[in-house]
Symmetry: C2
Subunit: 196 residues, 2 copies
Amino acid sequence: MTLPALVERIRAEGRNLGGGILKIDSLLNHQIDPLLMAQMGRRLADEFRHLEIDRILTAEISGIAPALVTGIELGVPLVYARKKRPITMSGPIFLETAPSHTKGGVVELMVSSEFLRPDENVLIIDDFLASGETLKALCRMVEAAQAHVVGVGVVVEKTFEGGRQSLREAGYADLPVYALATIISMNDGTIQLAEA
Amino acid sequence: MTLPALVERIRAEGRNLGGGILKIDSLLNHQIDPLLMAQMGRRLADEFRHLEIDRILTAEISGIAPALVTGIELGVPLVYARKKRPITMSGPIFLETAPSHTKGGVVELMVSSEFLRPDENVLIIDDFLASGETLKALCRMVEAAQAHVVGVGVVVEKTFEGGRQSLREAGYADLPVYALATIISMNDGTIQLAEA
């Protein structure tokens, strides 16, 4: 079940920039509609509440907002992986890399080991599920911490980039993966959304 | 009036890394406590609600969370200035620069002109008020858009870095500036917080 209010907004405001790039910076990546975002958090929390989540993991920058609203609903801490090591980050860290197709090259993801603990149930939240590379890197971090990834929730899935399949092949076949909106193709300048 | 729950957490978890650098990444800059963050949003919103805010402006990365929770309470859109131009950012933008003392060098701040409109009442939210350079750059952006900065709200003010004075001298003497927690000195490894 998608979130109809989000699907409508993507239909109205989303732009296909070509190369699989979706511009939705009026509601997610630059401007944020806080009330829509809060609604996303409630929906994501409802989807995963039964899994007894201990912690939410996301990646900066655009994962922070959806992870925060989900965390408010679930009442659990969230940690966002840093892509550049800030001067306040010291001590042992988990470091993973993921190839980035929108930015080119490789993105580093870093989390202080104090904020990913063994045996925790971790829900991963991000803005997009596209190729799945960032999400797989976050999953590997959770495993490196000897914690358990129990679910993945994203704002927008682009099914035509195969991320769900890639997660399955990487050993996460049983992992529940949920998207608030699903885009099934972006051919010829169009944006084709899956119906609820 | 500070936020006592935040002051307590800084007292318990904050670390003075020297050179005026405060590490509070267990609650703001890496891990986020969503319920404390939501409380911050309510307090910030209460402080500025009477100013008829049309929009919140912040800067990525650590400004996003406090701006979002304030936006949820006020029911207004927020926009976060980007520091690196994403591929989805096109069209006319407002660009400002601010010297960064924690990162060294100069930070660029970019906002699409579609998300800062003339005549709007803009509330600026950020994680820190230190030297005030980032906040002044955000104020200049609002002015470039012919909108009005009506208030500045931050999570932590470090009074000993003179940001409030610097804002005053830059022509913002009448601007209400509010901090949820105030640090008056960080000498000899200590963190001295102002009382409520």
